[in-house]
Symmetry: C2
Subunit: 505 residues, 2 copies
């Protein structure tokens, strides 16, 4: 079995235990690890590294594709191994270390990290740790359920540790399409012209001499943390479906829409899932993470093809899909996140981008990352790669949070990740605002009327009316612009009249 998985004849003598592999790390190193949205992360070596660091403290800068599963970020944070972390995370323990200032977190557009590594603006990567299904006869690394930044990590690193996961199915081989942009100043166009385009290799091509250690593992990916659709997310999905239907009626879209991208998480997944019961057909996805909804759409006969950088599923779905992968394989590609999120391809294909906001304001600015402007939640992820360059940029959120004490529609967002210039559509369970071609003074009444929770609507309209008296292209009262957030911190609610909190819940 292991000879099926490590097919290069000279490499079996590199097999070691995770503990032995963990001895390769030195204090101060920069490490690139596989893993994107809880899929395909190296599992044993980082655990062994955390274990080692508990006795023999050392710190590393850790770069991944995106978030890790199997509580790895938690374990590494609690072992105080991380001095620096990029470009994304989604773990409560690591989040605390970031917000306490213990870990320096660099919150980057997911398409940009390896571009910066390649041009040596960050890094260099000392060691890459990559989960693989197999190593080919020539020493090529076949990734598992994600590609993320793994290809460039392996290509750029001095040393590579490969974790061969015996429980990741053989059928994953052939799914990946590894394309690395050519060097400047003679970089050629990326030849991806449809979601289906295969333009690279089915493995990561590296010099096998760089493989410093091979570790066998059997641990599965963690299942996704998304919740099933509820009434509110179903309503959001309904507003978007109606909007798309009207676009078809207006002759701007066909029933095939445009290639779809949906961010990680419950709401974006629910919105995609909502397309199951619509007249749209022959849909395609050009996204970063492929969630349950991708496979629901396949099974409903709605989706023709899906390109992503990872497959992240609920526990139930994970076991069904990975067992049955061979039946989906001809309709799937996994790419490096640099390519799945690449501005060039996103603009060329004309993607419809659906991402989740923490909050948005009356002029259409979006906060995706910072609770009350200060505390990091997860990171911007790929939302900026898509929102800036796509055909249509949609942001969705529930209208309130914390039992109505927080309005997701505010006078001014407390942190901006997506500017008014990059946001076409905002939607909550109450409705959708189409901001295309509108000036700020036209956007505000629309957003307040269509998207704001009724309990906050009057309060928000009052702000806008008072701001309007001061004039300006984007009317604001700077003294009160962030008062909803400071009221939340002072009183526990953004509502002026605390008695109406119950109604908003």
């Amino acid at each position: 079995m292991s000879s099926d998985r490590v097919r290069h004849p000279g490499l079996m003598n590199k097999v070691v235990s995770a503990e032995e592999a963990a001895l390769l790390f030195k204090d101060g190193m920069t490490v690139g690890m596989s893993g994107f949205t809880r899929a395909g992360e190296a599992k044993a070596v980082p655990m062994a590294l955390a274990e080692r660091a508990r006795k023999d403290p050392l710190k590393i800068s850790l770069i991944t594709g995106a978030s890790l599963g199997n509580d790895l970020d938690k374990t590494l944070a609690e072992a105080h191994v991380l001095s620096r972390r990029m470009p994304f995370q989604a773990d409560p323990a690591l989040r605390k270390a970031i917000n306490d200032g213990e870990v320096m977190f660099v919150d980057q557009h997911l398409s940009e990290t390896v571009e910066m590594l390649r041009t040596r603006q960050i890094g260099p990567v000392d060691i890459a740790v990559i989960e693989a299904v197999a190593i080919t006869e020539q020493g090529g690394i076949v990734p598992t359920t994600s590609v993320g930044n793994s290809a460039s990590f392996a290509i750029l690193a001095d040393k590579v540790i490969v974790e061969i996961n015996l429980n990741q199915p053989d059928a994953l081989e052939g799914l990946h399409d590894i394309y690395i942009p050519t060097h400047r100043p003679t970089r050629m166009p990326i030849p991806v012209v449809t979601p289906e385009s295969r333009v690279g290799l089915p493995f990561i091509p590296i010099d096998p001499d760089k493989i410093a250690a091979i570790v066998f593992t059997e641990k599965l990916d963690s299942s996704s943390t998304i919740l099933p659709p509820d009434d509110e997310t179903r309503d959001i999905a309904g507003h978007l479906a109606s909007f798309f239907l009207n676009e078809v009626k207006q002759g701007r879209l066909t029933h095939r829409l445009q290639p779809l991208q949906a961010g990680i998480g419950t709401i974006a997944n629910a919105v995609l899932h909502g397309l199951v019961d619509t007249p749209f057909h022959d849909l395609t996805m050009y996204s970063e993470v492929l969630q349950d909804s991708t496979f629901d759409l396949f099974d409903a006969g709605k989706l023709k093809f899906a390109s992503g950088s990872s497959i992240t599923l609920s526990e139930e779905k994970y076991h069904i899909i990975l067992k049955d992968l061979v039946n989906y394989k001809s309709r799937l590609i996994l790419r490096p996140q640099e390519i799945s999120n690449h501005p060039e391809v996103v603009r060329r294909l004309g993607i419809i981008c659906i991402n989740t906001a923490l909050e948005f304001d009356i002029y259409g600015n979006v906060n995706s990352t910072h609770v009350s402007g200060t505390k990091m939640m997860n990171g911007i992820g790929g939302s900026g790669d898509f929102a800036r360059n796509g055909y249509l940029s949609v942001f969705v959120t529930k209208a309130t949070a914390k039992d109505g004490r927080i309005s997701s529609v505010v006078p001014m967002v407390s942190h901006v990740d997506h500017t008014e210039h990059d946001v076409d559509i905002v939607a909550t369970e109450f409705g959708l605002a189409d901001l295309r071609g509108l000036a700020p003074r036209e956007r505000a009444p629309l957003i307040i009327a269509n998207c704001c929770h009724p309990a906050y609507r009057e309060q928000l309209m009052d702000y806008y009316r008072d701001a309007l008296k001061l004039g300006g292209h984007t009317p604001h009262m700077l003294k009160d612009a962030l008062s909803w957030h400071t009221r939340l911190s002072d009183t526990g609610s953004m509502l002026k009249d605390a008695e109406t909190v119950a109604k908003a819940g």
Copy 2:
């Protein structure tokens, strides 16, 4: 002479006066006019339209490439012709009408406007008005000193009015490279792979039957409003040159740097001009507007090639360069702004992007557009096309404005056009902060120490220190975050201690 300029045999009978052409407009129409950064705008017809509207009121939505010269935006605003204006402007009278809410201004990334028109998300364009040097034998339109959005306006509009400007030099013919991205879903890569790439036609190809009127004009472009370099802009240029030299030393850049983009205006022009006295050589530009500095660099033997969407020069330079154009022509291309600013090409070429900030904050967020978060200055222009997708994103500004009463480095910007994720370098006359790979808590002390005016440094450090006590990935005190702006409005200065204002001046 006019037969040299209107070479299509059937079109001379379309020649009319500007007043006659202006009768083609109807109330409520959407009009696309040539013109980008005061270069190559249609001159006679919009003036005649304003004249007509004074007697016979009508309103239009006006879309251009960028800002117009010859006081056209002023004249149109004062004649109350404009109900809606996009995607950029730079005129005080129009700015007032925008900030008063009379004109709905849509502030867009310059690469995106025609993409939205083509997909009918805005528009449609009823009439295009395009300044031209000539109409070819086949009816192709040869633009003058800018391309801007002219090609797509002419292609998409129902009717086209051509202004043949007899004073724009013949030598402009052959300078333009008109390439329009192919239709989705089979859009092919844009074949521009170096600034020198010629991939299109030297004229705008349209059906000559759409040409509804031809007007002859002789008015010259307005000269640019940029000021010559001063001590402060020279210092900013010096900091950037030192930074680039160090990048060469570190092996990240060569003396050819990467293709350069510099935004419109005095500071960016001065920064480019500053490269005249450096060891860099064989430079190229892939920019939107080519200003005096481009030709200074040509004349100094530093610049090999420049691609842009317009040529905008000071009065002195204008007369020299346009007379001598034939000597520069082989080293110049003018492209549609969709291509000069296209995310695909910007990322592929790896552009060094230098743009001007109104203000930036201690975490590297940039405000390019809104005075005190409310009043529109000019618009975001192309800065977002470049900053998001380029190799290196630099923002420059003088450290103070209004004789020291305004600090350009603030705790929190009052409007965000460029998020922390898109900003690599910020610089003022006091120094430069290299933010690449840094977390917010690392950026703040660096920006305060290197970029802030000394009169504001302690006050800014106090804010940061107090915010730090509250914790968070991006420490802020939301109650005070915008207090510098409200203090300015209340007291006339951002300084806490008004007596030190003089020192900051």
